[in-house]
Symmetry: C2
Subunit: 446 residues, 2 copies
């Protein structure tokens, strides 16, 4: 028995009470669960599937440690035979899923878990926790990617992300969706994402004279010279950069860029561009940060902002306009029997599903069909086998490969869906699915 730190207790208590119920009733037959989003958030035309790799790592390492079990023993409610059973509980099921970076719509499963009921149910909480967050963030990030083609986009959200893991996984999700870098050093190390960053206002303020701060920073970071120029006055900051440039050049130091972080940045960027160009610094890039998200990005670009790269933080890493997905992990089948829930306002499509996507003659997506897995329909089948009996059946792709795949997916979006304004994409229901629904309705009434 492993005794490495486990994530097993990172769950809702009801998963443990249900697990004891399944164990004691010997309900060990195969269950099929699917995770999907019921409705897209108001300002999303599509979602981007992300977070699968973390789910697979969770499933591979899934176990209760000795410490977990000892602690559960101190809580009333859990029985000795049940605690004994937990010692050997592992994930030994199958996983089918959309690759990370796939475009996905409401009601389309991102993942299917096929496993003995106890463990298939138990993994729900962490699986949702991992998939919903990254999918939400990647989906938000893609809007900036579509609005600002050719611009550098750096994810800057760690400080206001909701905790450490949110910061790390937000950086990952943004990169998969097409961002160019992150400020998050650990995310760079863990996921191989390019890292970027400049300096903070405090660095400037800790010097009595702004020019000294610029000089000191440049000499200590010769390969990464980007000056933050808005601490006192943005235009005067730009003029100081122009004055310092010859001295730095003489020291062999090349200024790469300046960063704006406040004020009307579209207007300021044009003035700063003029100042830099007049000073012979045409090659110095202008970067901008500060409460930016896709709508502000579009506004600045259409106002003719002379900005080469954007740092996008808080509003992206929190998905502030809608910080959660209306998603569910639903039992579709138990012991060969299709299940369906009828709670008010929460009726779902039954069965094990496949999603078929068709393209028009120009190679643009023109409709999906939500079908059952035993149907053979035209189009690309999006859900693929990724784990069988607890073992991976695909090599682990690098984040950079997922990013390429996602950018290719984005290039197939019909023009209307690339806009920030809401548009519906057609998701059809297959004949097989309609037949199954009709049969379940008849059974229910009888």
């Amino acid at each position: 028995m492993m005794n490495t730190p486990s994530e097993a207790l990172l769950t809702d208590l009801y998963q443990l009470t249900m697990l004891q119920g399944y164990f004691e009733q010997r309900m060990n037959e195969t269950a099929v669960f699917e995770f999907f989003v019921r409705r897209l958030p108001p300002k999303r035309n599509f979602l981007i599937a992300a977070g699968l790799e973390q789910v697979l790592e969770f499933l591979e390492g899934f176990h209760f440690s000795e410490e977990d079990i000892a602690w559960l023993g101190t809580q009333k409610n859990f029985h000795p035979e049940f605690l004994e059973f937990l010692k050997d509980l592992r994930f030994t099921g199958d996983v089918d899923a959309m690759p990370e970076g796939t475009l996905v719509f409401a009601n389309e499963p991102l993942i299917r878990i096929t496993a003995p009921m106890p463990v298939a149910q138990f993994i729900e909480t962490r699986l949702i926790n991992l998939l919903q967050f990254q999918t939400m963030i990647a989906s938000k990030a893609a809007r900036s990617v579509l609005v600002a083609p050719g611009k550098g986009l750096a994810e800057f959200g760690l400080r206001r992300a909701h905790g450490a893991e949110a910061g790390l996984l937000a950086a990952r999700a943004c990169y998969i969706a097409g961002f160019t870098s992150t400020s998050n050093v650990l995310a760079g190390k863990k996921f191989g994402i390019p890292i970027s960053g400049t300096m903070a206002h405090a660095f400037i303020q800790s010097h009595e004279v702004e020019e000294d701060a610029f000089l000191h920073f440049a000499r200590s970071n010769r390969d990464n010279v980007v000056f933050l120029i808005d601490t006192y006055n943005t235009e005067r900051g730009a003029e100081k950069v122009v004055k310092l440039a010859p001295q730095l050049k003489a020291e062999g130091i090349q200024i790469r860029g300046v960063r704006l972080d406040s004020g009307d940045m579209a207007t300021l960027s044009k003035r700063v561009r003029e100042i830099l160009d007049r000073g012979g610094l045409q090659e110095v890039k202008i970067l901008a940060s500060g409460n930016i998200e896709e709508e502000e990005l579009r506004r600045m670009l259409s106002a003719g902002a002379q900005i080469d790269g954007f740092g996008i933080g808080t509003r992206l890493a929190t998905s502030w306009d809608f910080p959660y997905l209306e998603c569910a992990y639903k039992l579709q089948e138990y012991d060969g029997r299709s299940t369906r829930k009828y709670s008010e306002g929460k009726v779902t499509w039954p069965g094990r599903k496949q999603v078929f996507r068709s393209l028009d003659s120009a190679g643009k997506m023109n409709g999906d069909t939500l079908a059952l897995i035993n149907e053979a329909l035209p189009g690309e089948a999006l859900i693929q086998p990724v784990m069988r009996e607890g073992k991976r059946v695909q090599a682990k792709p690098a984040c950079s490969e997922m990013r390429e795949y996602c950018l290719h997916q984005l290039s197939r979006l019909p023009e209307t869906l690339t806009q920030l304004e809401p548009t519906e994409y057609p998701v059809h229901i297959s004949e097989g699915m309609n037949d199954l629904v009709a049969r379940l309705e008849r059974d229910r009434r009888s």
Copy 2:
């Protein structure tokens, strides 16, 4: 040198480039930073300080591991002497802060860090990451606590919290703000929070007959029998509970409650209460969950909902109406010199601060004064010493003590601030602070 896993790389790249700058310029004088919220979110009348304990743990354990340093060595930009310097870098400074559970308003510092510049700057990212999230969540949670006095409030947000740490710390912040329990098992284990939970729809659906699911669950969880009754039809679910009660009673099992999770729960709860009461189950509690937050809570209670306890999840654990705080960690002083930033729209109050809070004759808060630490003003001084030269000077309080303290704080709120509608609370500026601002303005113009 320690080689335990470190959080040091969980930071923005610019912290490292600035750190190299401070190191190479030998800028090792004392810096004073304060963390505060610039503006409260639209629907908050106050905030509740939370997250200090995690900041202190971070500061106590702060170091770069050998692995961190080796990896940094593989990145261009970092110099060998700098990497050598990182080996022994520790937090050896002072911390002054408001205790967790303290009510706090815009511009009032939650924490002050007084330490050599390099480390005082470097800790910024993780410090904000820890303080802003828990403060935001505790502040949101307090609104439910004020709206539903005497009701059970369970935090249910793990699955849609933004990652693992968000789930854990949201549970902690809600408990400090006065919630009664969490569904999050690991949060219960780590922080000593009471845990609660029932069953999911899948447990019901995995049985062909709803009654069997109830029976099986009750027999396996005799001390925690709460039935989810909305899977097919809420009222019929309640009738089934009434029919099963005698059989369970004969087996020595007491039904504690039923849970509603969909539909118009205020109306349904009254019908369910009638059904249960008519069936002799007056002692069975009614719990409700599903997209609840403080406004829906108030609406249900004023509609006469017969609900004893609420499970509040997604919208709380994501603070969905405003998922971040406009907060900053600002340099107030370097090497004895007061610093102030003049970026457009971001002017801040300078100096090392204290907050004095005064009470009226009825013991209700009637105004704060933002002052300098050397001023002696009437009222309670909210900012206290918590760490000196890197060592704690206060015992670590239990979360339950913080919760008691917070509930006491909430009881001192003036009536208007206990409402969900926006009200301003007076925060005055002291004479000493106004003098300092005037002096800095004169120096700046000269």
